[in-house]
């Protein structure tokens, strides 16, 4: 049982707010796909729906909105179109002229980015990599769950190796004469370091007797409330596509 779920709920309420990982993946996909295919007021419906879903199913997703880094990344989406798109037909405070088309475009990009950020953060906050691996394995992608787990654990390390190696190269005069040669040396160093770490992971996995063939993922059993989620999301998606 998910330790993040409220303890004071009744069984039915708990079942509704804690859908199976496969359904949570479906919720994420729903938000992403509906964001891509919707525009105008429909995008507003998807935005409201995603925030409501986050509030009910994965409140952790809303916490991403408190991160300054998110807004640092999103602000250019709203601000740049205001000044880059012509004509600048709107007067704002201080006599500054901005584009009304740019404002509409910037707002829609901002809303789309917020929807995806909240949905993805909510999914990653409530579904463990083990559960995601189980969903992928149950879908017939043998070993992909394990590879994804390795990648998730390695991505931070990869970033660290990339940056420290590149910095070391620059400090020693790299990239000043031959980008091709120094780029190759940088890649060789980074990949070599990661392959050494990979060997350690292989030894650890083999010591535990891991084999992709022997993995028997738990069958995704969907409860009645999970089927309700699927029905409601399908109905809303169909309504938005048809209207």
């Amino acid at each position: 049982m998910d330790k993040r779920e409220p303890q004071s709920m009744t069984g039915t309420a708990r079942a509704i707010v804690t859908p199976a990982p496969a359904v949570r993946l479906g919720l994420l996909m729903w938000s992403v796909v509906m964001t891509v295919v919707s525009s105008g007021w429909k995008l507003g419906v998807v935005f409201a729906g995603t925030l409501a879903l986050a509030a009910v199913v994965h409140p952790g997703g809303l916490r991403v909105l408190r991160r300054p880094a998110l807004w640092f990344g999103l602000t250019p989406l709203l601000v740049l179109p205001l000044f880059l798109i012509e004509p600048r037909d709107l007067r704002v405070a201080g006599g500054l002229a901005v584009s009304s088309v740019g404002l509409t475009l910037g707002l829609s990009m901002l809303v789309r980015a917020i929807i995806i950020a909240v949905a993805a953060a909510g999914f990653s906050a409530t579904v463990s990599i083990r559960e995601l691996a189980d969903v992928l394995e149950a879908a017939g992608l043998r070993g992909l769950g394990f590879a994804l787990g390795v990648a998730v654990h390695n991505v931070q390390q990869s970033h660290h190796v990339w940056t420290t190696t590149a910095r070391a190269f620059r400090l020693r005069g790299g990239f000043r004469t031959s980008w091709w040669r120094h780029g190759r040396l940088l890649l060789v160093t980074v990949v070599s370091t990661m392959l050494r770490r990979a060997d350690d992971t292989v030894v650890a996995a083999q010591a535990r007797g891991f084999s992709a063939d022997r993995v028997r993922p738990a069958r995704a059993r969907l409860s009645a409330s999970d089927w309700w989620w699927i029905a409601v999301l399908a109905a809303v998606a169909a309504a938005l596509l048809v209207v």
């Binding site: 891509v36 043998r142 091709w180």
Partner: protein, 201 residues
Amino acid sequence: MRYSVRELVYVGVFGGLWGAIEISAGSALHALAVPFAGLLLGAAGLTIALVGRLYVPRPGSVLVMALVTAFLKMFSVGGVVVTPIIGILMEGVLAEGSLLLFGSSRAGFAVSGAVATLWPLVQPFVTQGLLGGVGVLGVYDGVLRLGGKLFGLTPASALAIVALLVAMHAAAGVLAAMMAWRVGTALRARGHQWTSASPSR
């Protein structure tokens, strides 16, 4: 997909390396709206994936690495995430398809790189033109303007601009593939033997 433990770990490691590039440099380049950011990222990602192919020489391994990278990108925060995910997956599909057709030789790598890096040129027609509502002709106009500016040609020389853009993208892919081959050779010289085609633990 029946991979050995070692191959699965390598898929994860190369997916992680590609993912680190997409998450850090990719987010920065897209946020700054750097021209041809997709081409730069595609070439860098393909270099990693093709080195990975030398260590996981099985049909489908580049596609699986792309899938892992797409999942990592999905969980990253910053900018619009959907279009890069489409790009990563399509580059994986094109590279894998070419490798299946032409083999994992040096020439096969070159063709695979050239074909896969053409996708960043095609992607705006799909994402902006069809999904974004700009229209295919609108995107074509934008591509001609950007290409014309880059090569110093007027949009009237449409055919020349398109041919030069295709050549530029394909050349970047071939360079990425040759870089991957040379990196793989250098790694083998350092003792990191390529995995044989037969399953190995």
